[in-house]
């Protein structure tokens, strides 16, 4: 009886460990069924992004991406982060349902105009009157690296405050 109980506990413990492992290590993968997947149609550009992500992972464990488009082409920002959920309460990241597969990993993706247009609205009393105020958060990610590509995904330049030696 004791052995059985011990075996059952071990079994539960192993199942718990396996489940926890998958939830933690593949936390992005298991969500992909209900997420929007994006792709960059150029392997060389993807390789450059992966290299930058690997470099930035020496500062923080994870990263997310911000995609932008301008008249010259594309801008890919790579933002290193220690924990996506602690990213200064950045609801745009936590709630993003967009992902991209780079190498063997999925990364959360947002667009630059999410920041430009994203806002919350509140009603407050000022001088005795109800007024609607618009709140907007600006995030200064100082470890971010931006890669610029033209419309054909040829590399243009890299912008980063981080020095590489």
């Amino acid at each position: 009886m004791f052995k059985l109980k011990n075996w059952t506990m071990k079994y539960i413990y192993i199942v718990f460990l396996i489940t926890t492992f998958f939830l933690m290590s593949c936390s992005t993968s298991y969500k992909t069924n209900k997420h929007l997947l994006y792709d960059i149609p150029n392997d060389k550009a993807k390789g450059m992004i992966v290299n930058e992500i690997n470099l930035l992972k020496r500062i923080k464990q994870n990263a997310f991406l911000v995609f932008g488009k301008n008249k010259d082409g594309y801008k890919i920002e790579i933002i290193p982060t220690s924990d996506l959920k602690d990213n200064i309460q950045n609801f745009k990241i936590k709630n993003s349902n967009r992902m991209i597969l780079l190498g063997n990993n999925y990364y959360i993706l947002t667009f630059d105009y999410d920041y430009e247009f994203g806002a919350t609205f509140e009603k407050e009393i000022e001088n005795g009157e109800f007024i609607q105020i618009k709140r907007k958060k600006m995030y200064l990610y100082d470890y971010a690296t931006s890669l610029y590509f033209d419309d054909k995904w040829s590399f243009i330049k890299k912008e980063s405050l981080i020095k590489h030696n």
Partner: protein, 399 residues
């Protein structure tokens, strides 16, 4: 970025309902005789305003009007302007009119709203290099707000683009108590900057006698000053607080004292800070710090020392070390542009001494990054400080 010229006497306009689209007429400024714009030839032309109403064109006709058919033809046009749109809102001249811009449009009751448009602003040529050098940047900003001549030429001169009659202008620059937006800036370089509520300003601006208006506005307002000592102390404080996280302070207008001060902002995390702004309608951005609301004029944050893991021994290629860089980041630049304020970064990562004179980087809303524009005051006696409060105030009022 395209320039927006102001419209002067002789500006050409056309009506989209003219049977002959090539028919044009010229504006004859009748509403005022005091405010002039200089053109390349040096002659003076009266500035056209929203008070150019009625029959204010030279010929007052654009030929035949397609809106008035008669038989197989159309009735002759009798141009009658009832109102203007697309003018420069921020300046009111002594005739109570607003300055017309080259993209302003007029309404004629026979046509449709905005049926008359400016095809030539009336200034004889594009400004030459000498024009820019001779232009007072503040006045230029007033009449050509899309262009900052200081970006083109560093040297400022005293030449004025608008001629004022003494006693017929508002002497000082007035900014809104709530968001520090400019309520009026006539471009007088010797005036004070004053803080007033928008409600009071609009009420007192109705007074037509300029002496009385100036006096009443002064009574209802407070002169804006910069508390540079307080700001310098706060800059050193955020450096002192910086360890593993970034710290920040906002450069703000204190609504009660009309002082430009620094207000401590929320602590960031390693390599990141956030600015939580709010706006009301089309206001300039405002912030709340320690439960007090302020107009936001600038932001200063520290860059903490980056901690990086060693290079993966299995990695092929790539760099051995990664470390902090001096100055502002790409995201600082985007934020400066988005909020239209200067963003400053302290290179705190480079100074372990909390009383060090820390180098400061700056990025402007136009994206111009400058490293080491000055230093913090260290123990309090540093000689390389920079008056960030004044810089931010000048940026706001276009000085």
């Amino acid at each position: 970025m395209s320039e927006k010229h102001f419209v002067v006497q002789g500006a050409t306009c056309k009506c989209k309902f003219s049977e002959d689209p090539s028919k044009t007429d010229k504006i004859k400024v009748k509403s005022q005789t005091k405010h002039f714009g200089n053109d390349k030839e040096g002659s003076e032309k009266l500035i056209a305003t929203t008070k150019e109403i009625g029959q204010t064109l030279e010929k007052n006709t654009f030929g035949k009007c397609k809106k008035q058919p008669v038989g197989n033809s159309f009735m002759p046009c009798q141009a009658q302007i009832t109102k203007w749109s697309g003018f420069y809102e921020k300046v009111t001249l002594s005739n109570q009119g607003k300055i017309l811009l080259e993209n302003s449009k007029a309404t004629c009751p026979m046509g449709a709203p905005d049926c008359i448009e400016i095809t030539d602003h009336g200034q004889t040529a594009e400004p030459s290099e000498q024009n820019f050098k001779n232009t007072d940047p503040m006045v230029h900003n007033l009449i050509n707000p899309m262009v900052d001549v200081r970006d083109m030429y560093g040297k400022e001169a005293n030449h004025e683009g608008i001629t004022f009659i003494d006693g017929e202008a508002i002497n000082d620059i007035y900014i809104n108590t709530n968001d520090a937006s400019v309520l009026i800036n006539y471009g007088k370089s010797d005036g004070n900057i004053r803080m007033i509520s928008k409600y009071n300003f609009e009420e007192l601006n109705e007074i037509t006698d300029f002496d009385q208006k100036n006096n009443k506005l002064k009574e209802a307002s407070i002169v804006v000053t910069v508390d540079d000592n307080q700001i310098q102390t706060k800059l050193q404080e955020i450096h002192r607080l910086t360890n593993k996280t970034e710290q920040q302070t906002f450069i703000v207008l204190d609504r009660t004292t009309a002082k430009i001060i620094a207000a401590l902002g929320p602590e960031g995390i390693d390599g990141e800070t956030e600015i939580d702004t709010y706006t009301i309608g089309n206001s300039k951005p405002m912030i709340e710090a320690n439960n007090v609301k302020y107009a936001l004029l600038g932001q200063v944050h520290t860059h903490n020392l980056m901690k990086s893991n060693p290079r993966n021994p299995n990695q092929i290629g790539g760099q051995d070390t990664i470390e902090n860089g001096f100055g502002t980041s790409e995201k600082d630049k985007n934020t400066a542009k988005s909020l239209n304020i200067n963003i400053y970064a302290l290179d705190s990562w480079n100074y372990s001494n909390k009383n060090a004179e820390v180098s400061i980087g700056r990025v402007t809303p136009k994206g111009k990054e400058t490293k080491a524009i000055g230093k913090t005051h260290g123990k309090g006696d540093g000689k390389k400080t920079i008056n960030i409060g004044m810089e931010c105030l000048n940026l706001r009022i276009g000085r």
